[in-house]
């Protein structure tokens, strides 16, 4: 059986990949992907912990949390993409650094 530590290490790696994506990418669609990676890191953590709680037992609480969290992540992406469509209409670009109307 694979040890729990590997799953947690992978979750942390995913979390940092997501943060790196958000910090460096300029394309707004890629930012949405970064957010998805962050949320999936947390979901993976939940699943790993629930499977290793006790021998031969998987905690349903964590699974229901993950299912709801996937749905919520979908809502966030939908809202983000809707805003990106409007941002593209106004600015004519997907580059987040070109959105500078508010800086004074």
């Amino acid at each position: 059986m694979i040890r729990l530590e590997y799953f947690i290490a992978l979750a942390f790696a995913l979390y940092f990949v997501g943060l790196y994506c958000l910090a460096t990418k300029r394309n707004m669609i890629r930012l949405v992907l970064g957010i998805e990676i962050l949320i999936n890191a947390a979901n993976l953590n939940f699943i790993a912990f629930s499977a290793y709680r006790a021998e031969g037992f998987v905690d349903p609480l964590a699974h229901s949390t993950v299912i709801i969290s996937i749905a919520v992540a979908g809502c966030v992406s939908a809202a983000a993409l809707a805003l990106i469509v409007y941002a593209y209409k106004h600015y004519g670009t997907l580059d987040i650094r070109k959105l500078r109307q508010l800086r004074e």
Binding site: A11, L22, I35, L38, I39, A80, L99, Q101, E104
Partner: protein, 484 residues
């Protein structure tokens, strides 16, 4: 299902688009608004009817013999926050009847407003992390869309996108922190976690609490995590800025109170000193940057940061008095900043401009609005007969009691500093008119004046006679077990 007040709001939120669709052909445009106000009023009555029961012992939902199974717990702190949220929601909805009348998609505006209020009430009633997270996201997603509601302008879309990206990172960090807590304790229920983590120590607990802190801190706009706040407040419609500033950011502070004083023992995790440093940074940054602002809504946004700093003082002090001060300041700040944003909205509605040099002299044409605005600004400064003074005094006393007198001195200095820009606004309002547009400005419409006036009366009332609300805040703070 989720306790009467929350059920009623959710029911009305789901049915508002249908009402909007049915009445879209009629000439009476504000039917949706009236429907929402009725819903909020019924919910306020439902909250009042469980108030006494909740103050004696927490109401658990679903009712079960095994108390660990209840996902909602309505205690004094929850009732206090929910009452504040519903009150601000009603005032904002009344104000929006006229303020948003010319916008398209008004039924969706009210639906999102209701979902945002439902989300906040769910957060303050939640008794496990799972419920808290769902309602937290309900509140967050509605607020992202509401900030970008006037999507035909570029600024709101940009601000909404910025808010969404930062908020989503916060939510993801929160979820990651929750997953680590779940791994440590094997449960998500607050009471079970409190007993499982009592006396626990170690680097995993630090990490989990740090991630949860980042999640709530982004929403509460604590300074290194505040970048979304000035843009979101200045680009959102003024009624939404009012509710965001009055209760949505404060929900983050509430969550910090609940998590750090009912689950993690703050003394074990060594958070007080971090809270103290962050509070000084937050209040100093907010007040100093506000001095440089010319745009009224941006100025008020930075002043919100200053007040978030004051609220953190209570968390840093960590004693009963400090938490009372924080909770009382959440309520008082909701009233004061609500009035201030609604008045700015009224000025923008009549004049079409919100910069300090453009509004010069508008006070002579809009006397009632200006008086209310002036009172709210004096209250924000912390002037004695008004309500802001009471809570800032409580926070000052708490910091002295906790042996952190330097924090109390920081509050006093920052209040003095903040007078610098509040007085500048008042001066701009009452000086002689310069431009021609000012000559034709009329007083704010009566429908928008009603909530402003009622809230201003509350500011005066709770400043002169603070005993009942102070007593309520003390009861609310008493439910947090780790306060010293």
């Amino acid at each position: 299902m989720f306790s009467p007040p929350l059920d009623i709001i959710l029911l009305f939120a789901v049915t508002t688009p249908m009402v909007g669709w049915c009445t879209s052909k009629s000439r009476f445009k504000s039917f949706c608004g009236l429907y929402v106000i009725i819903g909020l009023s019924i919910s306020a009555y439902a909250l009042y009817s469980i108030l006494h029961e909740a103050l004696v012992s927490p109401v658990r939902i679903p009712v079960s013999i095994d108390y660990l199974r209840s996902s909602l717990k309505i205690d004094a702190l929850g009732v206090f926050m929910a009452a504040t949220i519903i009150a601000i929601g009603i005032f904002t909805a009344i104000y929006s009847l006229r303020f948003m009348a010319k916008d398209v998609g008004i039924s969706l505006y009210y639906t999102l407003l209701m979902f945002m209020i439902a989300g906040m009430i769910g957060v303050v009633f939640a008794n496990d992390f799972f419920t808290l997270f769902i309602f937290w996201e309900l509140m967050s997603i509605s607020s992202y869309i509401l900030v970008a509601f006037r999507k035909h302008n570029p600024e709101p879309v940009e601000a909404g996108l910025k808010y969404l990206v930062m908020g989503a990172v916060g939510s993801a960090s929160l979820l990651f922190g929750i997953s680590l807590i779940y791994g440590l304790a094997g449960t998500l229920n607050f009471e079970a976690l409190a007993s499982a983590l009592a006396g626990a120590k170690g680097s995993w607990l630090y990490l989990a609490s740090l991630l949860v802190f980042i999640g709530f801190g982004i929403k509460a706009a604590i300074v290194p995590l505040h970048a979304w706040l000035p843009d979101a407040y200045s680009a959102a419609p003024s009624s939404i800025s009012a509710i965001l500033s009055a209760v949505v950011t404060e929900t983050g502070i509430y969550a910090l109170c609940r998590i750090f004083f009912a689950i993690f023992n703050p003394a074990l995790v060594e958070w007080p000193i971090i809270f103290a440093i962050l509070s000084v940074i937050t209040m100093a940054f907010g007040n100093i940057v506000a001095l440089l602002q010319m745009d009224l809504k941006r100025l008020l946004a930075y002043s919100s940061l200053g007040h978030i700093g004051y609220m953190l003082v209570g968390l840093a002090a960590g004693n009963q008095l400090g938490l009372t001060g924080t909770i009382l300041h959440i309520f008082n700040h909701a009233l004061m900043k609500g009035v201030a944003f609604l008045c700015v909205g009224a000025i923008i509605y009549r004049l079409g401009a919100g910069r300090l040099d453009e509004i010069a002299g508008v006070g002579r044409k809009m006397p009632i609005t200006t008086v209310a605005f002036g009172i709210s600004l004096f209250a924000l400064t912390g002037m004695p007969p008004l309500n802001g003074f009471i809570s800032e005094l409580t926070l000052f006393m708490a910091s002295v009691q906790a042996g952190m007198a330097w924090l109390g001195i920081a509050i006093v200095l920052n209040s003095a500093l903040s007078a610098g820009y509040y007085l500048r606004v008042i001066r701009a309002l009452i000086q002689p008119a310069k431009s021609k547009e000012i000559k034709n400005v009329k007083e704010t419409p009566a429908l928008m004046l009603i909530p402003i006036c009622i809230m201003t009366i509350f500011i005066l009332l709770f400043g002169i006679w603070p005993d009942p609300i102070l007593e309520f805040a003390r009861k609310a703070a008493a439910v947090l077990p780790y306060a010293t």
